[in-house]
């Protein structure tokens, strides 16, 4: 083994790992971006929806073993996807009874008024979910482990004969993440429901005049955003171990990704998450692991300075 070989191999593996992890980050950012984009609610509990998704997948596959019969390939992935509807239902109920009291037409109209209530409420929900999770799920680390978690497909490249290791669990998870993101995107762009969500995001008053029940649109957006992030959680669960406080690590990544992509843009949120994945993996080449999140923030700050509207933020609009 020569030095250039190791270098090239490290770069290629950081690249592929960045893409694989970035796709899942992208999906969780899409969930957060959807909630912010439609409701203008800054949701601190988003990381904990991710955590709930992880535990939903854990109980469906490893804990209760309901999906064991599907084997190590389909089982964990289906468990992750089922985490979506479960947390969707939870999100809808949460909005119905709590979030709707501090959001809606009154607060979407103004960016400064009414947001304190939302911050406190979502922070409170976050704390309840974390500590409630500790009571219900326990503090010992969990994971949806299969033989795939620690095996890889190996690709030989012509560059110095270096090898790329594609972790099987990560690869399959990122494929599912891309598929879910595409389905959501098509739903938002092409269906009547999707159009009504975008209209409610764009101009809630005009959407009401057009016949859209904006409160219901918010409820659906909140449920969808929670569910999508939970699917991402279920997918991550296939290759890491986690505790009820896992959401804290990811909520930062999610916010960085959503702001990078441009607040309110779904496509941008995915690219933002992907970028964060890249930065994290590449910074791992030169920085110790503790500093990887710091690298994310350096890039984050650079983008805020150079392009405050984000990659996909809209600047071409007349008043």
């Amino acid at each position: 083994m020569s030095d250039p070989q190791i270098l090239v191999e490290n770069i290629l593996n950081a690249l592929t790992a960045g893409i694989l992890i970035g796709c899942i980050y992208g999906l969780m950012c899409v969930g957060l971006g959807l909630i912010f984009g439609v409701m203008r609610v800054v949701n601190f509990a988003q990381g904990d929806f991710l955590m709930l998704g992880m535990y939903a997948a854990y109980y469906l596959f490893t804990g209760w073993g309901l999906l064991n019969f599907l084997g190590p390939y389909a089982g964990p992935l289906l468990a992750a996807m089922l985490a979506g509807p479960i947390v969707f239902a939870g999100g809808v109920l949460l909005h119905r009874f709590i979030i709707s009291r501090v959001s809606g037409l009154r607060t979407t109209a103004s960016l400064d008024e009414g947001h304190f209530g939302q911050l406190i409420v979502t922070l409170g929900v976050s704390l309840i979910l974390q500590n409630g999770g500790l009571i219900v799920f326990g503090s010992s680390p969990r994971s949806v482990r299969t033989p795939l978690s620690s095996s890889a497909w190996v690709i030989e490249t012509p560059f110095y004969d270096s090898l790329i290791f594609l972790n099987k669990a990560r690869l399959l998870s990122s494929v599912v993440a891309i598929a879910v993101a595409i389905i959501l995107y098509v739903m938002l762009e092409r269906t009547r429901l999707g159009r009504s969500l975008r209209a409610a995001a764009d101009n809630p008053t005009a959407a009401t005049y057009a016949g859209v029940d904006v409160d219901r649109a918010h409820r659906i957006a909140f449920g969808l955003g929670s569910g999508i992030t939970a699917v991402a959680g279920g997918l991550i669960a296939t290759y890491i171990s986690y505790s009820p406080f896992a959401g804290l690590d990811f909520v930062i990544i999610m916010y960085a990704g959503v702001v990078l992509g441009g607040m309110g843009s779904i496509l941008g949120a995915f690219w933002g998450g992907l970028t964060v994945g890249f930065v994290q993996q590449f910074s791992g080449l030169i920085l110790p692991p503790q500093l990887q999140n710091a690298a994310i923030f350096v890039v984050f700050l650079l983008i805020l300075v150079l392009r405050p509207q984000g990659f996909f933020g809209r600047s071409a609009e007349r008043a």
Partner: protein
């Protein structure tokens, strides 16, 4: 068709409307004129359910509008073209019209209404794929009216359609509104600051001042009234 009775609205103790009554019959073109701050937009927002009244009733074809959520009105056949246009800026022109056709009636009449909208405002067909936020003010107003028509409404409510537009464009908008009334037989309720143009179009008009109806009647009566001639029409030949 639309019956507003003794409507009163206050914003934090400040009276915006007091005892406003107004009737729009099927097929009529009714105009509400008045100076800035008279409560014209408040009247519209109350009818549309965005602002809650302190007293009074609003009925549409016998149904009590105040008892239902704001979003139901579009499904009953009331199209509200709001002040300041309020198009969906991040959506394309076509998508804006599709949103207009969100109620069932609009979906059934989609092909017919789209054709009609494009006949009235050919520019909207040309710009179908463009984001509404990039349109000029006049084009946005056309789009807002088109979006209102797309739900195949029974009643079209227009709030200051000429606001912020160049005179030539405003004239064109008034022409189209009049055309919609004549050719489609659509019932129209118009709120407008350009009193002369608005009164010329209407079957019946109301003059709103500081939250009260001070004068009402057919065009001939209003246009003949001394106060209207002096204050709004700029005529001083009594």
């Amino acid at each position: 068709m639309l019956e507003v009775t003794d409507l009163a609205v206050s914003y934090g103790g400040l009276r915006a409307l007091a005892g406003v009554s107004l009737v729009v019959g099927a097929g009529q073109f009714v105009t509400v004129v008045g100076p800035n701050g008279a409560g014209k937009s408040t009247l519209f927002k109350t009818i549309s359910g965005i602002v809650p009244p302190t007293a009074g009733s609003v009925r549409f074809e016998g149904e009590d509008l105040l008892a239902m959520p704001a979003s139901r009105r579009a499904h009953l056949g009331i199209a509200h073209v709001p002040e300041g246009r309020q198009v969906f800026k991040a959506m394309t022109v076509r998508e804006n019209l599709e949103m207009g056709a969100y109620p069932m009636a609009g979906r059934h009449a989609w092909v017919r209404m789209l054709d009609r909208i494009h006949t009235l405002f050919p520019i909207l067909a040309e710009r179908a794929g463009q984001f509404a936020g990039t349109l000029s003010g006049g084009e946005q107003q056309m789009l807002a009216i088109g979006r209102g028509l797309a739900c195949a409404p029974k009643l079209l409510m227009l709030d200051e359609p000429s606001m912020g537009l160049a005179p030539a464009i405003a004239d064109l908008i008034f022409d189209r509104i009049s055309q919609i009334h004549r050719e489609d037989g659509l019932t129209i309720l118009l709120v407008e600051q350009r009193v002369a143009e608005a009164l010329e179009l209407c079957d019946r008009g109301y003059v709103l001042e500081t939250g009260r109806i001070v004068l009402e009647g057919p065009y001939e009566i209003l246009a003949g009234d001394d106060r209207v001639r002096r204050s709004y029409l700029g005529l001083d030949d009594a």
